[in-house]
């Protein structure tokens, strides 16, 4: 990769060339878009071990969740009786009561003799599904509203009015303490996992409206959007092709980071008992269930706690690294750290001549 693509004049040693003779133009077939993305992804991973760790953890978590969720019904279907994908059946007590972590029981056992590792693992599919679905809902609804509210926000137009309505409604939701709102929703609709998920969803989307709208406002007046408009591109196309494409990256990063936060919030709600008594294993509920044992058998509380922590951490690490993977500029910068295209002379913030020209 040369420093910068030379132009014809730049490449020629002579000051003035006659116009080039029209040579037959050979158009290379487009590179498969995924191949460069994959190569870039691998290089970023190599350059940034923390992202790699996050990525590996997320993959392990997701695969385990699928395995844990899929094995019992599959075996039921194939063998006639369900097999648990966890080392022990999470609901069957073993002979070892409140035993500390050991080779046989990685996270120890509780006072009934149940294997903590199997219990935590059994809760993984549900918790992960909650984390992904709540943020997914917030992303779709919140960002959709945010796009509309940001892109068409012009004073004294229909778009401006719609935008104002969206933003005020969002403000109302934001003004409620989210935990209290969730409690109120749960209290109204009765205690269950479903109402708890609903409650978290209701409180989650307004942040995405704010975030998206802010990003849209920052992007929609950039020169390249004006340039697209001057080229005759329609507004809807500008919205998707230039605006949405350029804010996808902060949204994705935020989404990834948020999966962990949702898990914590859900666990908190679960801990205070909003989910009601349920039979399905769930981390927050497990923490609540064993909290009395903390002074005596700390591993019983630490095991689900650790699961929440590791899941959060994995998504956070991945989210931070996504910034580098998604942005073609920083992807290049990372890959070509040895030979950047421009000199970092402008390192002192007083860039030599940046946008020096004074416009009217």
């Amino acid at each position: 990769m040369p420093a910068a693509i030379p132009t014809e004049e730049e490449a020629s040693p002579l000051p003035d060339l006659p116009p080039p003779t029209p040579a037959p133009v050979v158009v290379r077939s487009p590179r498969a878009p995924w191949s460069s993305a994959v190569i870039g992804f691998l290089r970023v991973m190599r350059a940034n071990p923390l992202t790699l760790a996050g990525f590996v953890l997320v993959v392990i978590i997701c695969v385990s969740a699928i395995v844990v969720a899929a094995v019992p019904p599959l075996t039921q279907l194939l063998l006639g009786h369900a097999l648990a994908a966890t080392p022990y059946d999470p609901n069957m007590p073993t002979a070892a009561l409140h035993q500390g972590p050991s080779f046989a029981h990685w996270f120890g056992t509780d006072e009934l003799g149940r294997d903590m590792f199997s219990l935590v693992l059994a809760a993984l599919p549900l918790d992960l599904a909650i984390g992904l679905s709540v943020t997914g809902f917030a992303l779709i609804v919140g960002s959709g509203l945010g796009l509309v509210a940001g892109f068409w926000d012009k004073p004294r137009t229909l778009g401006g009015a719609v935008s104002t309505v969206i933003m005020r409604v969002t403000d109302v939701f934001l003004a409620f303490p989210s935990l209290v709102l969730a409690l109120a929703v749960a209290a109204t609709l009765g205690r269950s996992i479903f109402t708890t998920v609903l409650a978290v969803m209701v409180t989650w989307w307004p942040y995405y409206v704010r975030l998206t709208r802010g990003e849209v406002l920052a992007v929609k007046n950039l020169p390249y959007v004006t340039a697209a408009r001057a080229s005759g591109v329609s507004e809807v196309r500008i919205l998707f092709r230039h605006v949405l494409r350029n804010i996808l990256e902060p949204l994705t990063i935020y989404y990834t980071l948020d999966v962990g936060t949702v898990l914590v919030t859900f666990s908190t709600l679960s801990f205070v008992g909003v989910t009601g008594s349920i039979t399905t294993p769930e981390w927050g509920q497990q923490v609540e269930f064993y909290q009395g044992l903390l002074p005596f058998y700390p591993w019983t509380v630490l095991a689900p706690g650790l699961a929440i922590f590791v899941t959060c951490l994995a998504f956070s690490l991945l989210g931070d690294g996504l910034r580098d993977i998604l942005d073609p500029r920083s992807r290049r910068a990372l890959i070509q750290a040895a030979q950047p295209s421009t000199l970092p002379a402008e390192v002192p913030a007083v860039a030599a001549r940046g946008g020096g020209g004074a416009g009217a």
Partner: protein, 350 residues
């Protein structure tokens, strides 16, 4: 064609300021920034009109009005005799194939997420429904005309130098072979050596394809080389319009003289110690009555402060118009007289 390709008739653009609640209920009038105030200029087919002026002169706003990126507060923008200032929606987008814009900022005006072929073919895509292969072929044929290699279709804009990015902008503007290209400070972010390449390219493209240009810039040197006619703007008004040689060699309006005298020249024989024009550009919110340059003008008389001068042709030169009450009297004053010059330093230290 008989009439001008593009004509603005008394076009005005005000940007309203918001009022505070007390101002609103106190019944204060809504203030506005008078960015462009009653400007009439023409661009003929195949010619280049240079718009020069400083920040706040309204030259960019006027360019954007011509390109219909702003809608005029009042007045008309006629393109081939048709008023485009009120166009909107699909007709406006269809009309845009006649007029394209090259923006000042070669970094910001290219979408960082798009590849070269997507950027350059954007105006084509907006007008036609071509296949990807056809678009790529069109772009690959177009790139050499602006001096870029045709095999960079899949690069991203950040892989180009500043000059290369400005060539991409140019290729995008030319992709539909528009009749008029508005060049908004096309070289102000570039180094002189690259600027010379781009300006040469602009002129040779115009010779080849017969585009009209509107060149908006504060760079007198660029206007000198590219323009056929020049309009000098100050505070939202046109001060002087005429053929480029006439305006730059024999400026009549005191502001044009002040502007030309202020341009530093890379010639130590013209070194000066002092520039005699004082004061700063006044605010555009409540523009002064009378001539807008009156507050800084060295030739000001009382009449200038009350009566607004009209753009009138000079005696004996019908295509050179000036808005100055004292045009006839100051016409022969050389811009250099606004400078106090000294001979160049003679010896080195030591």
């Amino acid at each position: 064609m008989t009439g001008p390709l593009l004509e603005t008739r008394n076009v005005t653009k005000h940007f309203p300021l918001s009022r505070s609640l007390t101002q609103f209920f106190g019944g204060e009038a809504r203030l506005a920034i008078h960015a462009v105030d009653g400007v009439s200029v023409q661009v003929a087919a195949g010619e280049t009109l240079g718009l020069i002026g400083e920040s706040g002169s309204g030259k960019t706003t006027l360019g954007w009005l011509m390109a219909r990126l702003h809608s005029a507060t009042s007045g008309e923008v006629l393109f081939e005799g048709q008023d485009v200032s009120q166009l909107s929606g699909a007709p406006l987008r269809r009309w845009r194939q006649n007029l394209q814009v090259v923006f000042q900022d070669p970094v910001g005006s290219l979408d960082p997420r798009q590849r070269v072929w997507q950027i350059v073919s954007e105006p084509i895509q907006a007008q036609h429904n071509f296949s990807k292969a056809k678009l790529r072929t069109l772009v690959a044929e177009l790139l050499p005309t602006v001096g870029l290699p045709p095999d960079c279709l899949d690069q991203y804009p950040h892989e180009f130098s500043g000059g290369g990015r400005q060539r991409l902008s140019l290729a995008r503007a030319l992709s539909l072979k528009p009749k008029l290209v508005v060049l908004d400070e096309p070289t102000s972010a570039l180094d002189v050596a690259v600027q010379a390449q781009i300006l040469n390219r602009l002129v040779s493209l115009q010779r080849e394809f017969g585009f009209s240009y509107v060149l908006i810039t504060h760079n007198v040197a660029a206007v000198r080389f590219v323009a056929d006619r020049v309009a000098v703007m100050y505070l939202g008004k046109v001060a002087e319009v005429g053929p480029v040689r006439d305006v730059l060699e024999h400026p009549v309006h005191p502001y044009t003289k002040a502007l030309l005298a202020a341009v530093p020249v890379a010639d130590t024989r013209r070194r000066r110690t002092r520039y005699k024009i004082s004061g700063e550009v006044p605010t555009l919110i409540r523009p002064p009555p009378g001539c807008r340059f009156a507050a800084r003008c060295p030739f000001v008389i009382d009449r200038c402060r009350v009566e607004e001068p009209l753009l009138l042709p000079l005696v004996g030169a019908s295509n050179h118009v000036v808005a100055c009450h004292r045009a006839a009297e100051v016409a022969d004053v050389a811009p250099e007289s606004l400078l106090v010059t000294v001979p160049p330093p003679t010896t080195a230290a030591a």
